[in-house]
Structures are given as C-alpha cells and as structure tokens.
C-alpha cells in the first residue's frame, strides 16, 4: 500500500522536474554496477543450462549457445536410477534439517530472549562463538563422533551437525526481541503454559524470520557438499551434490551430466523460495507499516 501511495508523487516529480534531463553520472554508475552484478549472478546459471544441452566434446567450448543443443543428457540423468536415490536423500535430509532448525533454533532463541535465568548471557555467547569456527575445522571431530556412535554412512550421520545452528538461534533470538512481552504475559494470564505460548503466540508473530530461516537452512543442506562427501561411503547414501560430482570416470569428469543434474536440482530450491518468499516480503511490509 505504501508503495502505491508514494508512486504518484515520484511520477509527478519526474514529470515536472526533468522531462528530458539526461541521467546524471551517479545514476549511470549505479545502473552499470547493478547490471554487472546481475550478469555475475546469471552467467553461471546460464552456463549450467547451456552445458547441460551440449555434447561432451563441446563442454570446454565456452560458447553460450551450443552448436547442436539436445536433451540427451536429461534423458540419461533421469534414466539413471542413482539420481532418484540422491534426490530423495537430499530431500529427506534438507526437509528434516529444516524442520528441526525451525523448531530448535526458535525454541532456544525464544528461551534466551524471553526468560531471565543465571548464565543466560554466557550460553548465548557460547552459542554465538561457534559461528566463528569454520566447517572445515569441525569436520574431523564430527567424523570421529559419527564413527564412535556408528553413524557413518547413515542419514543421522549426515544430518546431526546441522539439526540446530548458531546462526538460526541468533536470528530467532533477535526476532523474538521484537515480540512485546505483553503478548506473552497476556497469554500467561490466559492460562497457557510456556510451550503453548511459544507455539501459539510467539511463533506466528515471527513467521517472516521462520521463512527466512527455512530458506537458508534448506538451501544450505540441499547444496551441502563437504560433510556429506566425508560421512557417506555407499553410492546409495550420497546426496545430490556428492552424487553429481561422481558422474564420469576417474579419467574424465562428465561436466555435461553434472550440469544437467545441477539444473534439475535447482527446481526444489526454487519451489521452496517461491513458497516462503511471500512471508519474507510480508514481514518487510509489516515492519514498514509499524515504523
């Protein structure tokens, strides 16, 4: 609504002020930078699709339009039974991890935000500090843990490090700060227990943050490579990125097949984004109206 109200005034300004005024330098630079940024974003995707339409001998030719575009790669990948396994593995892992993150991160974030207890600050700092440790450093301890617990080459092994994230906890804590305490106290007086308050009152009020978190976590797990590569041994347990990278033989990497698989695998991420983005936009709009 705010946008539609503002628009006429901007239009009116442009009309009266500068009917044929040339764009100024700042504007040209801004547009150029935006254009370059856009190209940098789109080119890899364009090459991915282009490569998926090429024959093997054309792959190292950087032409964007293939000489003889064809869909054989898609047929090959979709007829290869392994692809479905990997797709399913990735889907199971990404969905479960996303659900767990949405629940656990927000539970911990809510607790850290709305309850006063000794050591609260230390717990928060401890959780935050794990953000500073890169995944590469954690891979070995994770592997040793998985080995001892017998989780190697299992879904549980792939998922456990990501079922809760420090980033998600931090994000949710910050968002719960925007939920007035009055809501929670009102619910407490109305007879809800703490878990009910979190679920029926607090959670609906942070939907935009939950949507953002869901997108981040889903994408992160859908595209995760290093940890699934290390923890899985059997081809049936591979996730999509790990599986795709195994296309080809030891002498040659089948880039056209990898790109085909990658192109197909972007579809779920697009769907997830399309489902949740309206909540994010809604959140931004709501924040704007309140302001």
């Amino acid at each position: 609504m705010a946008v539609t109200e503002i628009r006429p005034t901007t239009d009116a300004l442009l009309k009266t002020d500068a009917p044929k005024k040339p764009a100024n330098m700042g504007q040209i630079i801004r547009w150029t930078l935006l254009f370059l940024g856009g190209v940098a974003m789109v080119m890899p995707i364009a090459y991915m699709i282009s490569t998926s339409l090429k024959w093997p001998h054309e792959v190292y030719n950087l032409k964007l339009i293939p000489d003889e575009p064809h869909l054989e790669n898609y047929t090959y990948v979709l007829e290869d039974g392994r692809f479905y396994w990997w797709f399913l593995n990735s889907m199971i892992i990404a969905v479960i991890t996303t659900v767990c993150n949405v629940i656990f991160d927000s539970l911990v974030g809510y607790t850290l935000c709305k309850f006063r207890f000794p050591g609260r600050y230390i717990v928060f700092i401890a959780i935050l500090s794990t953000l500073m440790i890169p995944t590469e450093m954690l891979v070995i301890p994770w592997y040793l843990m998985s080995q001892q617990f017998g989780w190697l080459d299992t879904y549980w092994g792939i998922m456990f490090p990501g079922l809760m994230t420090a980033f998600g906890t931090f994000l949710m804590k910050q968002f719960f700060e925007t939920v007035p305490d009055d809501f929670i106290e009102a619910a407490r007086i109305d007879g809800l227990n703490e878990l009910q308050i979190w679920w029926t009152v607090a959670m609906p009020l942070v939907k935009p943050a939950l949507a953002a978190l869901a997108i981040f976590v889903f994408l992160g797990n859908w595209t995760a490579f290093i940890w699934p590569l290390i923890v899985t041994n059997s081809v049936e347990m591979y996730t999509l990125p790990v599986g795709l990278s195994s296309f080809g033989d030891e002498a040659d990497v089948a880039w056209e097949l990898i790109m085909t698989g990658a192109a197909i695998s972007t579809i779920p991420t697009l769907i997830v984004f399309l489902i949740f983005q309206r909540y994010i936009i809604q959140g931004v709009v709501m924040a704007g109206l309140k302001g």
């Binding site: 106290e185 009102a186 407490r188 007879g191």
Partner: protein, 351 residues
C-alpha cells in the same frame, strides 16, 4: 467477583527495593485506581497481583485465598495491557475467545460467551476482522473483551488508555466506567493520569516512591489531601503552595497577611499553605498573594492568571469576561476554609 487484600507487600530487585511494605483492602466490586508518577510502584503492584512478578515479602489475598504461590492463570484475574496485547494473527473472535482456550466449556458455550461479550462491547460486527483492521479504540475494546470473557474475580488494567488520543480516552473512560456498573467485577486500574483516577475510581490509591501516600474517595483525596504530594498531584492545575509560619496563634503569610485559623501550634512553626487555583481569585478579602499578572490563559467561562509573588508563580482563576490585564497588580484572596495547612518539614497535613 471477590475482594482483594494486599498485606505488607515488599518487592526488591536485587538490592533495590521498589515497594516498601504496602497494605490495602479492596472490597468486592470496588473500582480502585492506583495513581502516581512514573516509578512510583503502581505497575509493579499490579504485576504482583497478576502474578507476573513474585513478591519478595507480604501476602496477596484474592477472594479469601492467598495467591502468592499461584500461577497467574490460577488467580482468577484478567489483565488489560497498555498496548492492548491483542494477537495480530488472530481475528477479533479468536482474540476474545483466547481466554477460554483452557476453560472447560463446550464449543457452543464458548461461542455463545464470545457473542455475549462482543454484544456488551458493541463489537458484534467486527468479530471476523483482524486487529490491523481496527482503530485504536476498537483494539482496546477487544483487549477488554478478552479479559471479560472469562468473568474473572478481579480485572487488572495497566494504563489501558494512555495510547489513545484525548477524545477517545475520554470516551473509553466513560465506557469502562459504564461497564463496571454493568458487570460489577472488582477492578484495579493503574494510571498516571489523575483525571482518569478522579473520574473513574470508587477509591483512589496515590503512590510515590513505593509507598502509598493516601487512599480515599476522589472527594477525600481532593478536599482532604494527606500531604503536599497528594495535594499537588491531584487537581489540575496543581494546588498553589505558599510558605508561612505560626505567630501568636495566627498564620503569617509571606505577603504579610495574618490569618486567624485557630491554630494551636508552637510559635514560629514553619508551615506550607495550600490553596487550589479554583479557590484563589482576585478580590477584596484577606490578601494571600500580591503581585503582577504575568500570563493569562483564557478558558472561556473563566481565565487562569499567573501571578508572580515571593519568587514563585501562583495560579488563580479570574472571571472569563473581565480578567485582569497582564502586568496589572492584583491581590488574590481565598475563603479561609479552603486553605490547607501542611507541616513545612514533613509535608503532612495539619488541617
């Protein structure tokens, strides 16, 4: 419905004591307003009654039952918050019905109860709306509806009108008072606005710095303030405070006027004389204040005049048609029986 008693209530946050042992009895069906400046402990008291905070010492008794160790939901209270606290993701119907979620009632009974409350508040047409589609006054009504729906023993209101504009506040004030007359539940209402306190309360509790200063009906706290704080806080504009002393059994004012009030006090005792602006006016009686008019505030039927004297400004009321000019020297007088005498040192009322 139930009575409520607070006995020697103390609240400490770490080492800071914010309530210093207050006691109060509220009768069944009474409308009691806690009023005082910010930081006086009125909201803390309300939160202690609600069970949102734990009392450090003392007892809270609702309907003959000590509730200190009970959860808010078990205290048979309902609370209306300053910023309404109605849930933006629920419709008005769901918001009002929220208090019944945990009630052991059939769905049909719950719906009927919601409709009944909505009818009382005149919101039947709005039940399907979301809070974002309501005005400030309507939102506040939803909040009240959510409190009413459970028919609690005690209603707690925490500055519920301070987010509304002046006109709406006056209207809601009236509506809440009517509502109280209709449903008759005990109400504890917290505000910093003395006009709200005066207009709505059966009894007013005036608080300052964690102590109760005075408890009384609006007429009592207005006409017989217990100390200079109450005298200054209740009434707008504030009561004028003049310094004086006792001399030969009479009151000697800064203006030099001697008033025979029949005071039986020690010679030379310093006192503060309080006189309300509405009792003070230009005239021929004993001169309480003499000085030039510095500012005039015409209100139509009367004019407030500010008179500079004895290093302070005194407010008086003059006729609305022929008020004195700015700069004009005036003599202000008041009937002797309207004067309030306080101890200059302690501020306690002496007469």
């Amino acid at each position: 419905m139930a009575d409520l008693a607070i006995r020697n209530l103390v609240k400490r946050y770490d080492k800071t004591e914010v309530l210093h042992g207050i006691s109060l009895d509220v009768e069944d069906g009474e409308f009691v307003v806690f009023v005082g400046p910010s930081g006086c402990g009125k909201s803390t008291t309300l939160r202690l009654i609600a069970g949102l905070e734990d009392a450090t010492q003392g007892e809270i008794v609702i309907g003959g039952r000590v509730v200190n160790n009970l959860e808010p939901k078990d205290r048979d209270i309902a609370m209306v918050f300053q910023n309404y606290a109605i849930y933006p993701h629920m419709t008005v119907r769901k918001n009002i019905g929220f208090g019944l979620r945990t009630a052991k009632m059939s769905k049909a009974d719950k719906e009927a109860r919601i409709d009944e409350v909505a009818g009382i508040l005149g919101m039947t047409d709005l039940l399907a709306r979301k809070p974002s589609q309501l005005s400030g006054g309507q939102r506040q009504r939803v909040a009240i509806g959510r409190a009413m729906v459970r028919d609690p023993a005690v209603f707690l209101f925490d500055e519920p009108l301070s987010n509304l504009d002046a006109q709406l506040r006056t209207q809601m004030r009236l509506e809440i008072k009517k509502l109280h007359q209709r449903v008759g539940n005990t109400i504890i209402f917290v505000t910093h606005d003395q006009v709200e306190a005066m207009t709505m309360a059966d009894r007013i509790v005036i608080m300052k710095d964690g102590h109760i200063q005075q408890v009384g009906t609006p007429a009592e706290v207005y006409h017989k303030p217990a100390n200079t704080f109450v005298a200054g806080f209740i009434g707008a504009p504030s009561m004028n405070m003049l310094s004086g002393s006792v001399s030969q059994g009479k009151l000697r004012l800064g203006s030099g006027t001697m008033l025979d009030l029949g005071l039986d006090m020690a010679e030379g005792r310093a006192v503060t004389v309080g006189v309300r602006p509405e009792d003070l006016h230009p005239g021929d009686g004993p001169a309480l204040v003499r000085g030039p008019v510095t500012v005039r505030e015409p209100l139509g039927h009367e004019t407030l005049i500010y008179v500079g004297a004895e290093g302070q400004e005194v407010i008086a009321k003059a006729d609305g048609r022929t008020p004195p000019e700015v700069g004009q020297e005036v003599t202000l007088t008041a009937a002797v029986e309207t004067l309030h005498i306080f101890d200059a040192a302690t501020g306690d009322a002496l007469r």
